[in-house]
Amino acid sequence: MITSLVPVWLAQAAPTTEELKTQIDLSANILLETFYFWTVVVMWLIHVGFMAYEAGAARRKNLMSTAMKNILTIAVVTPTFYYFGWYIYGCFEPGLPTIGPDSLDGHAGPPQFPGFCGQTAPWADEMGPNLQNHLNGVFFLAFLLFSWTTGSIMSGALIERVRLSAFLILTAILGSFVWIMDAAWGWSAGGWLTIRFGFHDAIASGVVHGVAGLFTLGVLLNLGPRIGKYTKDGMARSFRGHNTHLTLMGLMLIFTGFYGFYAACLFITPTVFPGWLNIYGSPTTLGAIAFVITVGFAGGFTGGWFASKGDPFWTLSGGLAGVIAVSAGADVYHPSLAYLLSISGACVAVWSGNYLEKRLRIDDAVGAVAVHGVTGFYGVFLVGIFAGGYPTGLANVESSMGGQLMGIMAFVPLAFLPGYFFSWILKKMNLLRVPPEVELEGLDLAEFGMDFYPEFERVPEVIVEPDGREVDSAPVLLDAYWQTNGKEPAGAGVGAEERS
């Protein structure tokens, strides 16, 4: 009796071809959704790392104000990116959006992705709980983490004198408008730079790092150096960060998070050969970029070590620069080529960092303009030399030096001009920089009313003169303050350290 029912049960349990297809599609969607979610979890380490890195590089008196910038970046970039940043990515791939009847809700996207634009509006069905769409939420989340990263790149350069609120305004502009506009143009399968010029920047050398670095340069020109950074003769002094170990650990956390960043730049197509696509819809593999990122760190550390003659800060920053230099072509570079190019990228970062600090007298506290800005665009340039001819984007336009230069010409003004303009506006409103008195005393006492190492005795702060001598910073900084402000003597003064 029972054995006679088995064929009946099997017949009932056996799915039809159509049901199997539905199940496979659902499984593929769940795999994609799960993958992106966990890349985001790993990418959080980038922000943990940036916070530790910058807090360690700050002097003790500016510890919490530095860390708070990184924390509140999340507070402001998340809503701004939800309300209009994601919409820019969905709708500005052609340059400017076109409105047509064939799109969802009247929001036309590029013809390659009809309706995607409408799905990115904050009031769309796909921007909330939706059983029919697993992917929009995690895609949004991955891009949001890229946005936080752009803010964090800028954050370190401005420490110890920028107002927290000014930084938050600028980071919202950078994270939710500037970088995502360039991503729509040149970091999407249907972007106008991609489909017309074959612009190729697979893991975002230029679109994230280069653009954030140049935006930062525009801000730094208005912000100015920290009090005491330069002698009367224009020679650069060095400030001692309060915790180098924290800085180095932060950089290592950033490196860990970069694996999530790299993975999030790919797209899984689990039912279609070869299973992975880059951001342009061209085939690659996770293994290909795993080779390049790991070798890129190795080459970057090597180049940073030798170019800086063994400086620990630049050795680790060189690792970051090395990876950034090879990111644009990470989907196609051979590991040996990546090794050589990453060594050169780290050297470019060290040399340009020193040039910016000592010749152009731009006080970039963590070398962000050099490591991210200069090396980012250097990486885009390298693709024109070493990956020319590779089909890119939905139109399969071959990447070329011309296309890469076109991208650079579009991104440089897009990045630099808003950074300069909006920081100039804030400066004119006296909202960009903290008062000099507060800068000398330390931002933590003004912002939070406390010292964040209460159990440790305050030791005199030191500063490194251009000739390498370490001296007590209080008289140096006070002298620089008096010169800057032209104040007349009004009584016996004491050092900022003594008062605090």
């Binding site: 509140l72 507070a75 402001v76 809503p79 701004t80 939800y82 309300y83 809700d105 904050p122 009031w123 769309a124 069905d125 796909e126 921007m127 909330g128 709980p129 939706n130 059983l131 029919q132 769409n133 107002r163 927290l164 609120s165 938050l168 305004i169 919202a172 909202l431 903290v434 008062p435 008195e437 507060v438 000398l440 005393e441 006492l445 003004a446 912002e447 006070l478 303050y481 008096w482 104040k487 007349e488 003597p489 009004a490 009584g491 016996a492 003064g493 004491v494 900022a496 008062r499």
Partner: protein, 74 residues
């Protein structure tokens, strides 16, 4: 097979099922407008609150005379 949710009754509505939803409805438009308003107000408060703190601390420091230039010898 493990879910008792009445999919047949909900039909297509399952695509957008949040509070005051679905998308492109009056409830969602209002929520969006309120969210954007909260975001803008937060920016203004970030600026004002910090400005007050910095101005107070600057005034305190100036009043203390701690950063004044010491008198030069006659």
């Amino acid at each position: 097979m493990f879910d008792a949710f009445p999919y047949d009754e909900w039909g297509e509505d399952i695509a957008g099922f949040w509070t005051f939803g679905p998308g492109n409805s009056t409830g969602t438009y209002i929520l969006t407008a309120l969210g954007i308003a909260a975001m803008l107000i937060a920016f203004v408060w970030f600026v004002r609150l910090e400005n007050q703190k910095l101005a107070h601390q600057q005034a305190t420091l100036r009043a203390s005379g701690a950063l004044d230039r010491p008198p030069t010898a006659p």
